[in-house]
């Protein structure tokens, strides 16, 4: 047995070493860096100067960072409610025995297989376009005046709406797999007992999907926290406060932006640590809220 354990150890060693070098080390370095004044990400430790909580004070005192946090929380909360609710609705509809189930499932999932860059371009240049965009065509057809969907008032919501469109399919698939795992005899028994479809949904489907919902909330939280590409696409030349999110703020302070040459990797590391903590806190809250949701049928 001892010999076998040694063999397991030696086989695991390369993977373990890779994990330590490529994951544990960067994480530890980033956490450490967040307490130092560091200009460049790759600066040697000899060039770091201890800053205590200075980087954290700096980012939490920064108007841009606070706006980015507000934007991120709105994407997480409002976007999350819409995305997960629509995904659930679609999943229930698609699994309800309607005709063309495969078509609808593929159609709703379609945005996930299209590059997000292409998807964002379609929304910006076609759907939201002021002159010939689909939305303004509809508004004008209904007799209204053209709307500036990408003006400062609506840009954030235009971006969030586009992101929701691109995300629904993914969560719908997760819910479909959860719903299809629920034994059909539960529904049959409920139908015999006279339960309506709505009752079946609220008393069977929803309670039995708690575990899946926990997973999707965690995934959504990670998606919202690492939100980046859509923000870049909606502010193509330079960052704007209506679309800024923490990862964009991090990117700008670590690498500099258009016309910006000042860099601050220490503050960037602090942003990274804060985002990680947010994900951990959300995960722990979700775990607590959905406790006891792991069911076996």
């Amino acid at each position: 047995m001892r010999k076998n354990k040694a063999m397991i150890f030696w086989f695991c060693l390369p993977a373990l070493l890779s994990l330590v070098l490529m994951f544990v080390y960067p994480v530890c370095r980033t956490v450490l860096m967040s307490f130092f004044q560091v200009e460049s990400v790759t600066a040697t430790m000899a060039d770091w100067s201890f800053y205590g909580l200075g980087n954290y004070t700096k980012i939490f005192g920064s108007a841009s960072f606070m706006i980015s946090m507000r934007n991120m929380l709105l994407i997480w909360f409002v976007g999350g409610i819409f995305t997960l609710a629509i995904a659930m609705l679609m999943a229930v509809t698609v699994t309800s025995g309607i005709r063309g189930k495969k078509f609808f499932r593929a159609a709703i999932y379609m945005p996930n297989i299209i590059s997000a860059v292409a998807l964002a371009t379609m929304w910006i240049q076609y759907i939201f376009n002021y002159d010939y965009g689909l939305l303004n065509e509809i508004v004008q057809f209904l007799g209204g005046d053209k709307v500036k969907w990408l003006g400062t008032d609506l840009k954030f919501w235009a971006m969030t709406g586009s992101f929701i469109f691109g995300s629904v399919g993914y969560y719908m698939l997760i819910y479909i797999s959860g719903i299809e795992g629920i034994p059909q005899d539960l529904y049959e028994a409920a139908t015999i007992d006279g339960a309506s479809k709505v009752h079946q949904f609220t008393h069977i489907t929803l309670p039995l999907l708690k575990g899946v919902m926990k997973t999707s909330v965690t995934f959504w939280s990670i998606n919202a926290t690492t939100f980046y590409l859509w923000s870049k696409m909606f502010s193509p030349i330079d960052t704007e406060s209506s679309t800024i999110v923490p990862v964009i703020y991090l990117y700008d302070i670590v690498f500099g932006g258009k016309g910006i040459t000042k860099r601050d990797a220490g503050a960037g590391a602090a942003v990274g640590v804060v985002l990680t903590l947010i994900i951990i806190v959300v995960y722990l809250i979700t775990e607590r809220l959905f406790r006891g949701s792991d069911l076996e049928y």
Partner: protein, 433 residues
């Protein structure tokens, strides 16, 4: 069992080695280190009758993506340079985001001889960049380059550390046909002339000005610079106190332009919708960098007969002749073992035939002042040569990095017509502090 242990050790080692191999460097033969140091002395091969840089390899990281006109010209220049000198130029087209990896790569002293990026970043951000003063003097660089750009680099760094490859100039780029049709015969030089031209163009049925949201801060920065000057903008940007200054007048000027209906319908629009309206004949001019001409022509498939004029002077203005000027430049790493060969390639690329090819095919201003600008940029060489101190890209607005995004959004709101007066706009700016 011993056999099994040995086998497991061997397998684990093999796995580890394969992982490490993946992270390894290129074969020794492809490294610049395998070539003799050049410095100002040609390599040994030249002493035996070969070409000057036979056996020399220069590694270049470009900011363009393969297939772009600029990349094609650089590749053509590399091929011609090899033919002429024997040096091989390995080019890695890293794309626009090269700036995200350059700092780390230069700090790690990766095998790079030449880098290509914005000249401000080369001057102020990147480590291990070579002082090119002596090499530039040796080729009399001052005689065929732009003094304003060279002086700016020297002001930032203390010496010349980059060679201009693609100069840029900012101001009003306009459709000559739209101006002629409206009866505007001369480019406006003052604000009053500008307003007069706008009215004539509007009366001719074309919207005078296009404006994309992405460039609202850049456009307003021009107006602000005319009234306040860059130093004052920087001071206000850092400390606030915009109200009661000439910033109110600058904002009011923009509000008046909106009130008179001089902006094209939809402005400020999402980039590049508004600028494209010049190509579609719906708008006559735009404040931008010179690259807007190539962008509009490409995006709309039109061939606009472009003209350029500096941002108009305002009454009582302080920096009435300042113009934005910038550049994508080339620099050499301080640890390059083939610095002289690299410099010779840079000069080969940025002068004479190759530079003219770049100006023509990429529709740009030539780096060599003896060459001709692309027809749509006619007059830009002269304008750049006449510029004494260039404005940097929204430099005053970028001094306070913490507020730049919010100020940019306020500028978009200004062009959206959200403020009734210039004073209201300045109050909104002051509320940020």
């Amino acid at each position: 069992m011993k056999m099994k242990k040995t086998l497991s050790l061997l397998l684990a080692s093999a796995l580890s080695l394969s992982l490490l191999a993946g992270c390894g460097s290129k074969p020794a033969g492809s490294q610049a280190g395998s070539t003799p140091p050049a410095g100002s002395t040609p390599p040994a091969a030249s002493q035996t009758g070969g070409k000057q840089y036979d056996g020399v390899t220069i590694n270049m990281w470009s900011m363009w993506s393969s297939g772009e006109p600029q990349a094609n010209v650089i590749e053509a220049a590399a091929a011609a340079f090899k033919e002429q000198t024997g040096a091989t130029v390995n080019i890695e087209f890293k794309g626009r985001d090269v700036n995200k990896v350059l700092s780390a790569s230069l700090e790690a002293k990766e095998k790079i001889d030449i880098i290509e990026d914005d000249y401000q970043r080369i001057a102020n951000t990147y480590p291990n960049i070579l002082d090119l003063t002596d090499m530039a003097k040796a080729v009399n660089y001052d005689s065929f380059s732009y003094a304003c750009l060279n002086n700016q680099v020297i002001e930032w760094v203390g010496h010349l550390n980059s060679i201009v490859e693609q100069p840029q100039i900012g101001g009003f780029f306009y459709d000559k046909a739209a101006f002629s049709a409206a009866g505007v015969t001369a480019a406006p030089a003052t604000w009053a002339e500008f307003l007069d031209a706008c009215q004539k163009i509007k009366d001719s049925g074309v919207a005078p000005i296009a404006q994309d949201a992405a460039y609202c801060d850049f456009a307003f920065y021009h107006q602000l610079t005319r009234h306040l000057g860059e130093d004052k903008i920087t001071e206000l940007d850092m400390n606030g106190g915009w109200s009661g200054t000439k910033a109110e007048q600058a904002a009011q000027d923009i509000i008046d332009l909106i009130g008179k209906g001089y902006f094209v319908d939809g402005a400020p629009d999402e980039f590049p919708s508004s600028e494209n309206k010049i190509g579609f004949g719906q708008a006559a001019m735009i404040v931008c960098g010179n690259y807007v001409t190539a962008e509009v022509d490409t995006q709309t498939g039109s061939q606009v007969d472009w003209g350029f004029f500096n941002y108009p002077a305002v009454d009582g203005g302080v920096e009435n002749s300042a113009a934005y000027a910038g550049a994508n430049s080339l620099a050499i790493t301080s640890y390059s073992e083939n610095a002289q060969a690299a410099f010779d390639f840079i000069i080969f690329l940025t002068t004479g035939e190759m530079d003219q090819k770049m100006a023509t095919e990429a529709k740009q201003i030539p780096a060599d002042t003896r060459n001709k600008a692309y027809p749509s940029l006619e007059g830009s060489v002269e304008a750049l040569l006449a510029t004494e101190k260039p404005m940097t890209w929204c430099a005053g607005f970028h001094a306070n990095t913490d507020l730049k995004d919010t100020i940019k959004s306020l500028c978009v709101e200004l062009f959206e017509g959200k403020y009734a007066t210039g004073a209201d706009f300045c109050k909104a700016l002051d509320a940020l502090y």
